[in-house]
Symmetry: C2
Subunit: 134 residues, 2 copies
């Protein structure tokens, strides 16, 4: 028997802080797309980097996006996932840019990813699949 | 130095056939969402299961969706991802349902996932990040 448990916000945040790679779901030319990104949690936001002019740049200009992480606990079927949904924006304020330089955050695809994108962690949900009985 | 290599269709299909868990990007109540699914490749389609009446059921009725897998090759930053974009539909034809019973495909969240969803592998793209020089 397997059952799905909803994770509370604290548990979701704990899981978000423990990972470094997630997937961002955006719309590119009216079609859905998902790409992996290296991310960091900072000041109640998901932060990741991309290259100016990329699909990710264009798709994250004040647009709604989904951000997901997941993991398995080693056993077949046992797993969890966390979903963040929010309006993306670019970090442009010099003081903020200065502050996040201290955040350890490497881009997934090379050091020319000069643009910082953030998603507020407002809508956060998570689930875990258990074996056994509730 | 890192650079991004586009993967050809054959390489994408090879990677898709070698994994069992991917992420599906859908729209739920006008908001983007991403969920992990166990999947199989069958007859040029991505197949996964869900429960009738679930968000995934409702969001995959003749709707466009993104499906993604990714992996890393152990070294920091080194990784790849494959993206399939297509119009989802449910498998309802009895002969087809009979045929896919033979496909090894366990649902991510329990055996009550009685609905089979497919995404045609028409729009398939992939990328790999390399260290070094092209």
């Amino acid at each position: 028997v397997e059952y799905l448990e909803a994770l509370d916000r604290d548990e979701c945040l704990r899981l978000l802080e423990g990972r470094g790679v997630g997937r961002i779901g955006i719309t590119v030319l009216d079609l859905p797309a998902i790409f992996p990104v290296n991310y960091a949690v900072h000041d109640n936001e998901i932060l990741f980097r991309t290259r100016g002019g990329s699909d990710l740049d264009v798709a994250t200009r004040e647009m709604m996006a989904a951000f997901e992480i997941d993991g398995t606990d080693g056993l077949y079927h046992e797993g969890w996932s966390v979903l963040v949904v929010g309006r993306c924006s670019h970090v442009t304020d010099p003081a903020e840019l200065d502050e996040i330089q201290d955040v350890r955050l490497s881009p997934w695809a090379g050091e020319d990813r000069d643009l910082y994108v953030r998603i507020p962690m407002e809508m956060v949900s998570g689930r875990r699949i258990h074996h056994g009985h509730p």
